[in-house]
Symmetry: none
Subunit: 206 residues, 4 copies
DNA sequence: CATGAATGAGAGTTCATTCAT
DNA sequence: AATGAATGAACTCTCATTCAT
């Protein structure tokens, strides 16, 4: 009869995790409080008790999802060589996305709205991420290692590729089943992807 | 009061164009028949009269948006050199997206759902697009012009960059206002982008 | 099978009349759209279709209730003698309230809120009513017929008495049943009330 | 965090005073336990701990508000002359209402419901009040001091005027701002009102 | 073809009330 | 006595969809 948890932390965690899953798979609008409640096993009213309203919940979910990105991707305070920094950037972001597959989906969804309702926490994270890469690239340029750098586009190449790679996983599988000739990199693992991207970016900046 | 146009084609066109705008800016769920009706000036019931239901309307909108991609991007039947084909591919896709800015938004939205409800017409177009690039790249590999090609990833680099570039336009503007140091390629034009991408891809495949 | 009325006027009328009854007997908050729908036989959504939201409905109900007050009470354009005008004022207001017993209840309810949310239409009506009496009283004063006039208080005496008389009807009945000695004017009719008030006011202003 | 007062009387008092304020300004339905809790600083559950449910709380609030009316208005056991008694009645009631401005609001609100849910404690107080006036008037009639007395209506004139005067205070101010010509007795003080009413009632009963 | 009225199934949110500590 | 967590029943409002004209 340990059903009545009376444990605020546990309840909040259940709400957040269920919501993150539903928001990223079904989108904001198609995710209902009823569904979150049913799947998480938490009374519907608790969602509003803790997060005020649906928008508040969404913000909390994003905050939670982005929380670790600062620790994992942006933590590196000591800079090495631009090349090593670049490699680390790509690898960390790729692995981070693999570990939090909800993030790319949420990101693309927001962008599909032109970021009209993009919560601040997400906007900030995106900017910091870009600022970090930008700094690395500029330092490389200064050291004559990188040439003809357009940071924004390089950034899009890296994160665009990784995001698409993750969000299209089911589609690529489906595609392969239909026509085996197409090589959709279905079984590639993340390490490989990150290395491949790094090598290509290195080449294109040489 | 004499609004009774009685012109099926005109009515359908109004519905499709209004819907395309609303779907791509607000998303599927947040777009209501009432809104489409009010903005387009077409009676709400007509939407269902012509397109059966909301999903049907969405499919029609996508069909319409993708209609031209076949003519414009995939039409090229005669192949030149792989390099020229690659350049043409990138340029045509970029310009196509600029001409139909709704498309990238709709695409990202669908992908953010892992393409779970991706309409067939869209899935097919995406596959054909990839198949075309794939063919070009393989021919280049056969001719020893391109090396170490992973078509899927190259594809993602190209279309991911272009899609992000278009959908992030408002965000990049906003970002610049906040911090002028960051170069977000705010004033780059599409021709420049396409050329830049082509050159970088050429470099990375050499 | 004449059930589907498809008659906007009839539907609106059903909504308004049912709402007026419920608002005045149960108050704004305790009146639910479900109840209005069930009692009126009109689909719940139609309430919002026609009146946008609950506040809109309430406003419409008030407008409707007050509509006639201008015709009946305020219509008199030609002034006779102050005494005759005063008598007419009291009588018309009293009979109007008897004919629209919802009005006094709605009025008291709004006032119990200090008129914080008093809709404009109601505020205006109240002011016009007072302005009319004020004019009559001042003219009487000018003709030395009335003495020591404090228009606002005279106004309160008249409408306060009538309003209380109408809204306390059930209570007075109940009171009589408990203790027969108290004379609560239970069977007084409106004509008598109006005459009584007029005579007393005449006396007090002499 | 050391808010645990553990002082039942103080807690109850906080609840009652906050509730009285909220009930009279926002009405029964629009007053929520959450709001009472937040404003009073008392934990929400304590409201139900002490007063069982919302109706119980409301009853307690009314009891509290009416408690003093017996002491202040009804206490006079020794009767003087009818005229002096009448004057005292009006004055005491007027001053009492000024001291407890919540009461008139609560009263009007209940009456706007036709007293359907009027708590017994309030009903009794109202009856006792009327009984007192009734007795005074009858005695005056017996002594041939008052003529043509309809006690209920006289009662309504007195309390109706005072109640309206108090509850319409904000409205009268607002009205004056709009149209300065109307004299809404905005700055009249209670003593003046009570005297005016008494004089007018004396005149009308002569 | 076209229109406005009508419908029913939710969706988000609120709130009185209870429970466990 | 006091607290924060939990609950379930409403309630307002929305929206895809259908009907009658």
């Amino acid at each position: 009869m340990q059903k009545k948890t009376r444990d605020a932390q546990a309840t909040k965690a259940k709400i957040i995790h269920t919501s993150m899953m539903l928001f990223s798979t079904n989108g904001y609008d198609a995710t209902t409080a009823d569904e979150i409640s049913k799947i998480s096993g938490v009374n519907k009213a608790m969602i509003f008790y803790y997060y005020k309203n649906k928008v508040g919940l969404y913000g909390a979910v994003l905050s939670h999802a982005l929380e670790s990105i600062h620790d994992e991707v942006l933590k590196e305070k000591e800079y090495l060589t631009p090349l090593k920094d670049l490699k680390r950037f790509i690898k960390t972001y790729a692995l981070y996305c693999e570990k939090h597959p909800y993030l790319p989906a949420l990101l693309l969804r927001e962008l599909s709205n032109s970021g009209a309702y993009l919560p601040d926490v997400m906007f900030d994270s995106m900017r910091k991420l870009f600022a970090l890469l930008s700094k690395i690239l500029k330092e490389g340029e200064r050291q004559k290692l990188f040439h003809n750098v357009e940071p924004m586009l390089i950034h899009f190449m890296i994160v665009g590729t990784i995001n698409l790679f993750i969000t299209t996983k089911p589609l690529r599988k489906k595609s392969v089943e239909l026509e085996e000739e197409l090589n959709t990199c279905c079984d590639c693992d993340m390490e490989y992807i990150a290395d491949y991207i790094f090598n290509k970016v290195k080449l294109m900046l040489s």
